[in-house]
Symmetry: C2
């Protein structure tokens, strides 16, 4: 029986992407689904929809509920309590460049560690020192990784992945796509997306 | 052991309120939680947030995803396929007035039947004939019920319930409150809200 596959588009400023990143690997393994970790930037996509900031800032009641909801979900997932970073949404440009530069084997661990620095420790991920320390903690030569991540070639890769997300109809994060192009929006739809991926693989 | 309780605020134009209305009674019974069915109007609450229409119309990509998401969720809940009413969001004023006028024993069945006319049959719930037929199907004297629902006293009840929702921080539908005032937004949070209500009742 063939394994399923799932594209996982995430943005480093997005707390629901954090929750999804922390649970997708184990859930996908149980479903026999391979995950393609795809960092992208939500900024240009939000801007195209007419947002001037995160919807959670534009609609304050929704934002207040989001932080409470995150507390409850983090607790249910047995994650450390959420610590709000000073700036929300954070600028995740450097983090996304590093994540897309790392190879498929290293990207998930970096992604989880960076998200954890942001939402469990409340650190500023736009600060190069934060990114350096996360890379160091994972055993990477941080200065080389960051230099490569900021090469023109790699910058173009992130732009292309963001354009690809937009072209596929992504409007928020996290977003999942199964092999048949079906779009699932939000951490709450991860189980349904995996189930659909599994069914497709079985039928193949 | 005391039973738990849960306030269930719903709006007749809201398809996620429909999904919640169709499953809340059985889930609440399993959790030994009593549900207070509270119809209200989202229009004034959206207007206060600066929306000019449903967010699902304001953000078309989000709207397109919503209809696809509803198809998948309706199928998972073993409900008939979603049929989009011609106008979205529908004007649910008359339906909400009737629902709040009916007593606690009759409100859930009317709510489910009205929602079903709207989202399973695609009927126009702002049409008095639709409301009449739903009432007739449930064995009510429809003309009397509608006349009472449109009395000044009952209109004021709906206004008061909408103001109450707004004062409690409701910003979308469905919204659930447990006895300790904790707010849970969205059909996706129904299980979590019921679990919290059950835990509160146990601890009491």
């Amino acid at each position: 029986m063939a394994s399923g596959s799932l594209d996982f588009y995430y943005e480093f400023a997005s707390p629901y992407s954090y929750l999804a990143a922390c649970r997708i690997a184990s859930l996908a393994e149980l479903a026999d689904v391979r995950v393609n970790w795809k960092p992208f930037l939500l900024g240009p996509i939000f801007a195209a929809q007419g947002y001037t900031s995160s919807p959670f800032n534009v609609y304050p009641l929704k934002g207040a509920h989001m932080w409470r909801d995150l507390d409850r979900l983090a607790s249910a997932q047995r994650l450390p309590p959420i610590t709000r970073p000073a700036t929300f949404p954070a600028n995740g440009l450097l983090a996304a460049r590093v994540a897309i530069h790392l190879n498929d084997a290293c990207r998930p661990a970096f992604t989880r560690a960076l998200f954890s620095a942001e939402f469990a420790q409340g650190r500023d991920i736009s600060d190069r020192e934060t990114v350096r320390q996360v890379l160091a903690g994972l055993g990477h030569f941080w200065d080389e990784v960051i230099a490569d991540a900021e090469s023109e070639v790699n910058k173009a890769r992130l732009r292309a992945q963001t354009e690809e997300a937009q072209a596929r109809g992504v409007f928020g994060a996290p977003t999942f796509f199964t092999a048949d192009g079906e779009l699932f929006w939000g951490n709450d739809r991860l189980e349904m997306a995996l189930e659909h991926a599994r069914r497709l693989a079985r039928a193949a």
